[in-house]
């Protein structure tokens, strides 16, 4: 039977925990807003980049290694985006599960599946497995910038162009809303230009003159644009993953705070009952003691 003091201590510690979870929730909310802002800011750039690519692709026949699928896909490079820190609900567990499933399903299909882990959680989870890890990166949430994304993109692109890998895929949490994320697996390279340009222009192209002057030649321009487009894609996925992480953490901390509240009210009730009982017992003792006299 717990004594009054024990329960009082438990109430205190629950209160402390609740304060921490509440603070974490607020911090995540602020970070989420920042991450969302980043996504919104990037959109006009990404959109007009894609529009120009689509425009050129329509007037000129484009043939570029980044957009032509390899005839036979043997080696796959998988980028896995997770977070560095925990306490964010199912965020990392979902990523790990999905990746695990992917390995199981595709083990026999390809000659090799290699990995780049971005974020500590996934790389820790898979560290005991015999996977070929090219690189693990950390501290994504602190300095996610376009510069970082383009560095990653450049590295991966060289792998692809050198023929080390035939396909490059990215597994990450897509940011749907503050309370919901979904794990998606996206093919980064080769770029599926047709699908993407179609969504950018919604099927029609406007404001593009036929007698456009190109400086340098269109092939050169599209070459550079595709590289940038790829960097932007990587940047977008990273930003989404960061936003999703903060969203997941916010929800998890909200739930934790609510749970703490429930626990507190139950404990308080129990504490009061126990206190009342004790008083009653003492009273009875006094009364019966007095009667005996």
């Amino acid at each position: 039977m717990a004594s009054l003091k024990d329960i009082r201590m438990r109430i205190e510690s629950t209160k402390n925990t609740q304060q921490i979870t509440k603070a974490m929730k607020l911090v995540s909310a602020a970070k989420l807003r920042k991450a969302q802002h980043q996504i919104v800011n990037m959109r006009p750039y990404a959109h007009s980049l894609l529009k120009v690519i689509a425009n050129i692709a329509i007037t000129e026949r484009v043939n570029h290694p980044l957009i032509t699928p390899k005839q036979e896909v043997k080696k796959v490079l998988l980028l896995v985006l997770s977070s560095d820190r925990g306490l964010c609900g199912g965020f990392n567990a979902q990523i790990n599960k999905f990746t695990d499933q992917y390995i199981k399903n595709n083990k026999d299909k390809y000659e090799a599946i290699d990995f780049i882990f971005i974020g500590r959680r996934a790389s820790d989870f898979f560290s005991k497995r015999k996977l070929k890890v090219i690189e693990s990166m950390q501290r994504l949430d602190k300095d996610i910038s376009y510069a970082l994304a383009s560095k990653v993109a450049e590295k991966v692109m060289h792998f692809y162009l050198d023929g080390q890998y035939d396909e490059i895929r990215l597994i990450y949490n897509e940011f749907k809303s503050a309370i919901s994320q979904a794990v998606v697996c996206e093919t980064l390279l080769p770029v599926d230009l047709e699908k993407e340009t179609l969504t950018a222009t919604e099927g029609h192209v406007s404001g593009f003159a036929v007698d456009m002057i190109f400086e340098p030649r269109p092939e050169k321009i599209i070459d550079q644009l595709l590289v940038k487009h790829f960097s932007v894609q990587v940047y977008r996925c990273m930003s989404e993953s960061v936003a999703a992480e903060h969203g997941a953490r916010m929800t998890a901390m909200e739930n934790a705070t609510n749970n703490a509240k429930d626990v507190l009210s139950r404990l308080t009730l129990f504490y009061n009952k126990l206190r009342q009982e004790k008083i009653t017992t003492e009273l009875i003792e006094i009364v019966s003691g007095a009667e005996a006299l």
Binding site: Q38, N41, M42, P44, Y45, A46, S48, L49, V52, I56, S145, Y146, S150, E154, H158, G207, F208, A209, D211, M212, I213, F214, E215, P216, P218, K220, I221, Q224, L225, K228, V232, Y235
Partner: protein, 136 residues
């Protein structure tokens, strides 16, 4: 109507503003664009971009790689980075510049690394140039 749309991955710098004139560090040399220019698409090198809006507001920014599309209804500029004079910290630029210049002296560099360092240097030089222009 001749509009300017100018964006980087991090921010929209200018959208939907009436443009009077713009000077760009284009691939083949500096370009000065006035309304009514022939349709043109070009890549941009690192350098200084200047533009003046119909409202009389004018601005100078140092950009790194970018591209620009000129059509009958306006100019679209997308740049990898764009900084104005106020955002530049001269000390850190000089440090970076030195670091990259030292990198170039290193003979073990492969083509990619070499190119990257070159890019960085031209970006940083453009930013320095912007600063020196401001102080005149």
């Amino acid at each position: 109507m001749f509009k300017l749309f100018f964006a980087t991955p991090d921010k929209k710098v200018v959208t939907d503003a009436d443009l009077e004139e713009i000077t760009l560090p284009a691939f083949a040399g500096e370009l000065h664009i006035l309304p009514g220019h022939a349709p043109l698409m070009t890549t941009l090198d690192a350098g200084i971009l200047r533009f003046k809006l119909k409202t009389g507001e004018s601005q100078k920014m140092a950009i790194s790689w970018g591209y620009c599309q000129i059509s009958s209804d306006g100019v679209t500029v997308l740049a990898e980075t764009a900084v104005s004079g106020q955002e530049i910290d001269i000390k850190s630029i000089e440090q970076h510049l030195k670091k990259n210049e030292n990198l170039l002296l290193n003979e073990t560099l492969d083509d990619n690394e070499w190119q990257k360092a070159q890019h960085e240097i031209s970006r940083l030089r453009a930013e320095l140039e912007l600063l020196s222009e401001r102080s005149h």
